[in-house]
Every structure is written in C-alpha cells, then in structure tokens.
Amino acid sequence: MRGNSATRTTLAAGLALVFVLPFIALVLQAFADSWTAPALLPQEFGLRGFRDGFAGGGAGAALVRSLQVALIVTVLSLVIAWPAARVIGERRLRHPGPVILLLAVPALISPFAIGTGLTGWFVRLGLTDSVGGLILGHLVFSLPYAILVLSTGFGSRLRHSEEMAASMGLGSFRRLLMVSIPEIRPTLAVAVLLSFLVSWSQYGSSLAISGGSPTLPVVLLPFVGSDAEVAAALSVLFLAPAIVALALAGRAGHFR
C-alpha cells in the first residue's frame, strides 16, 4: 500500500517537473551567449539576446505598447463586464443561455479572423497602426473572460451585504469601495489577471491590426528558429506577467 502511494507521489512529482523544467531551459537560453550541442548547460553566460533583441528600439517600443494596451484593455474589460457579470451572477436572467453564448462566442473565433475583419473598419476610422485600434481588437477577446469570471463572484451573499450597507446609509460609490470590491476581491483578482493575460498574449489580432506598430509577440515570432537567444530573451520578458499572474492567483486563492 505504502509502495503504491510512493509510486504515485514519484509519478506526480515527475509530471510536475515535466511541466516546469522546459521553462527553466528557456531562462538559461535567454542568458546564454554560447550554448551549442552537445553541451547540456550553457558554455558562456551573457546578455547578447537582450542587447540584440532591443537593438534598434523595435522590441522596446513593442514591449511598452503591449503593456499599455493590456493595462487599458484590462480596465475597460472590467468596467464593461461588471454590470453584465452582476446580472448573470445573480441569476436575474430568465433565459441566460443565449446571452452567455453571445457574450462568450468571440472566444471561440480565430483572433486573426477578428483582426482581419476589423481592419477594414479601422482603415475607415483612422485606427490602423494605433494603440486605440489594438485596444478595441483585444477587447473582443478579453471581455468574454472578464464577464464569465466576474459573474462567479456575484450572488445573494454579496447582494445582502450591499443591502445592509445601503440601509446603514452608505452611498453607491462608498458601497462599491467598502463592500463590493473587498468581498469580490479573489474573483476580481483572477478577472484582472485573465483580462491582462488575454490581451498581453494576443498574436493573431495584433498581427492583423497593428501594421507598423507591432506588439511584443509580433516582434518575437520572426526570431523563433532564426536566433534562439534573442527569441528566448524576448520570451522571458513576455513570460514575466504570466509568472506574476500565477503567483497572484495563488495568493488570491488563499484569501478565500
């Protein structure tokens, strides 16, 4: 019995390693100035990948643009999603199925298809090659996730707390700050992170919309297969928010 349990633990630990180890190699590659076969570890460490990646300023501008777009998309997604999520979470809809389907269906369609379809409109509106166009394009994908995640935080418990706060004379803004947000904090944290990550990792829609103002993934892809060190260096920067997301989601889970 004990042997069986030990086997399962070893197997589980091995699996955990399979999912983490490849990323450790990515970090090593990012800081390796020389890592040629058959060596299992880098022969020389350095920052060439970062230097070459940022040479010319393209990657730096793309990094700033990605960050700017993802932050604005996150805020907009939450503001737009909040009331819809409340209606869905409090089960106030008689037929929620079609509404949820309408709000969730963009997540099932290719981002490149959405980006290509939006490009024609953006040309007419003067939004191509602009941060505004990217924000609108990414919003299509981050909004469904924000609504679906936030809706799980709303329900009768939160409504009772808000009603109690209202009966004690708290205005709607103070109720939001002092009751709603603190109570929904773990779900809100997940919604913030997911909205941010969905925008941050957009490739297809950014490629179609961004034109001459690319985001970080659009700058990164051409290096895959052509310069492993630059690709790894840009990937490490691209990976950083995901690690922060995982850590914060873990912390948010502990608040429950």
Binding site: R8, L11, A12, A13, L15, A16, F19, V20, P22, F23, A25, L26, Q29, A37, A39, I80, P83, A84, R86, V99, L102, L103, V105, P106, A107, L108, I109, S110, F112, A113, I114, T116, G117, L118, T119, G120, W121, L136, G137, L139, V140, I147, L193, L197, S201, Y203, G204, L207, P217, L220, L221, V224, G225, S235, F238, L239, A242, A245, L246, G250
Partner: protein, 268 residues
C-alpha cells in the same frame, strides 16, 4: 445592465464578422459591395492548398483535443490528492502564451536541441514535420494543464466522499469511474475540450513557429495568401478565415451536442 457588454460585443465582434464578410465579397480592385463577387470564395474553395490546410488543421485539432482530454483525465486523477505545490507546477503552462510554448518546443525538440542532447537523438523529427506531430505536442503541453485545472475544480472533497461511499457499497474501481467520477467530470471536460478544439483549429502562432512549411494550417494559409497576393489576397484570406470560424462553431456545437446526448436520462 447588460447593455454595455452586449453593445460592445455586437459592435466589435459583429463588426469584425461583417467586415470579414464584406472583404470576402469585395472585388479585388475595389468598387464596394454594389459590385460584389464570389471570386475570393471560388479561388479559396478551388485551391488544393486550402483543402490541405483545412485537413491539416482538422487532423491536428482532433488529435490535440482528444489526447489532451485523455491525458488531463489521467493526470487529474493522479494529482487530486497531492499538494497545492505540485498542482501549481502542473498548472504552470496555463497562463503562459502559446507563442512561448512554441519557443520552448523549438529549444527542446529542434534537431540538435536539448532533447536530442539528453537522449542521444530523437527517433522522430518534431519541428517542421509534415505530419504536424510537433504542433500536436505543443498543444498537448499547453492545453492538458488547462483541462487538468478544470477537472481538479470538481474533484474535491465531496467527490472523494461519494467515491468512498460507493466503495463501501462494494462498487469496484471501474464502477466508481463509470458511475461516480465520470458524471462529475464530464461537463468541465467536454466544455474545456470545446474551447481547446475551437482555439486549436484556428490559432496560428504555433503552426507558424513549429509547423511544417507544407501543408499550412488554416491560419497560416490565410496569412500566406495575404502576403503572396497583394491584389485579391485579403478577400481570399477573409473567405478562408470565415470558413475556419464556421468550422470552429460547428466543433463547439458538436461537442455540446455530444454532452447533451451523453447526459443520463435522470439529469435531463
């Protein structure tokens, strides 16, 4: 209260679909929809590369979705009694963008890559291989943890108690899997698989990074026709992407239909 979200979705998503439809019917040299044409659709449907791209995308989608669902079920069953640390490690690829997983795949699986160095040599070529094994492998690595997370969310204490109760009543391991575990995990597994299938079918950063030069995936086909054909490439790309979008929705509906058909009569 639904208005802001519904209006934003209708304007942006509806506008994108309308824009793609308009582009696919617009004559190559302009002229607007009043002189609409089916040329782009004819070109795409008569193009053998599109047919190959469609089958390639279908094949990799079915393989990646089915295999990641099976693996997720196995891993979730194994991991459910283990520590939060191990679960977090397995969940690590979930927030990681697909493009980074593709970069990692090239680092490990390319000829002369780390897997070659550790194992001596890989028995198969997994980067840019014609069968798309590398593409499937990248999706397995990325999507299996996502499905594991969905499954672990329903494999909590309550399910354990139900299993223990079933065991007390003399139900064996397979009986418990069939009558206790499967009804609990079926919905998240099928809905998760629906999301995976729809995504894999039309995504293109992974095939672009590790997929074969030929056949392309649907997404890479659309990108290639746009780049190769400055005059009518955009219309053809829009037509190909719309066909891909329809296929993604059909996938989603098929999986939902499977879910409904498999529900026990008592659950309906």
């Amino acid at each position: 209260m639904l208005a802001p979200a519904v209006v934003a979705t209708l304007l942006l998503f509806g506008g994108a679909l309308a824009g793609a439809v308009e582009q696919s019917f617009t004559p190559p040299l302009g002229g607007g929809l009043e002189s609409w044409t089916l040329d782009s659709w004819r070109e795409v449907l008569g193009d053998p590369t599109f047919v190959d791209a469609f089958w390639f995308s279908l094949r990799t989608t079915v393989a990646a979705t089915f295999l990641s669902a099976c693996l997720a079920l196995l891993i979730a069953t194994l991991m459910r009694r283990h520590s939060a640390g191990m679960r977090t490690a397995v969940a690590f690829p979930v927030p990681v963008p697909h493009l980074i997983v593709a970069v990692v795949a090239v680092l490990w699986l390319a000829p002369g890559g780390l897997a070659d160095r550790v194992l001596g040599s890989l028995p198969l070529n997994l980067v840019r291989d014609q069968a798309g094994l590398g593409v499937v492998l990248v999706y397995l690595f990325k999507e299996t943890p996502f499905l594991v997370l969905l499954l672990l969310a329903v494999m909590g204490r309550r399910l354990q108690e139900q299993e223990e109760m079933a065991a007390v009543h003399g139900i064996g391991r397979w009986g418990r899997l069939r009558w206790v575990i499967w009804p609990a995990v079926r919905a998240p597994l099928l809905i998760g698989s629906m999301i995976v299938a729809a995504f894999v079918f039309s995504a293109f950063e992974v095939p672009l990074a590790v997929g074969p030069n030929y056949p392309p995936s649907l997404g890479t086909y659309a990108l290639e026709v746009t780049k190769a054909n400055a005059i009518d490439g955009a219309g053809q790309a829009a037509a190909a992407l719309l066909l891909g979008a329809v296929a993604s929705i059909v996938f989603a509906l098929a999986i939902l239909g499977l879910f409904r058909a498999r529900r026990e009569p008592s659950e309906r």
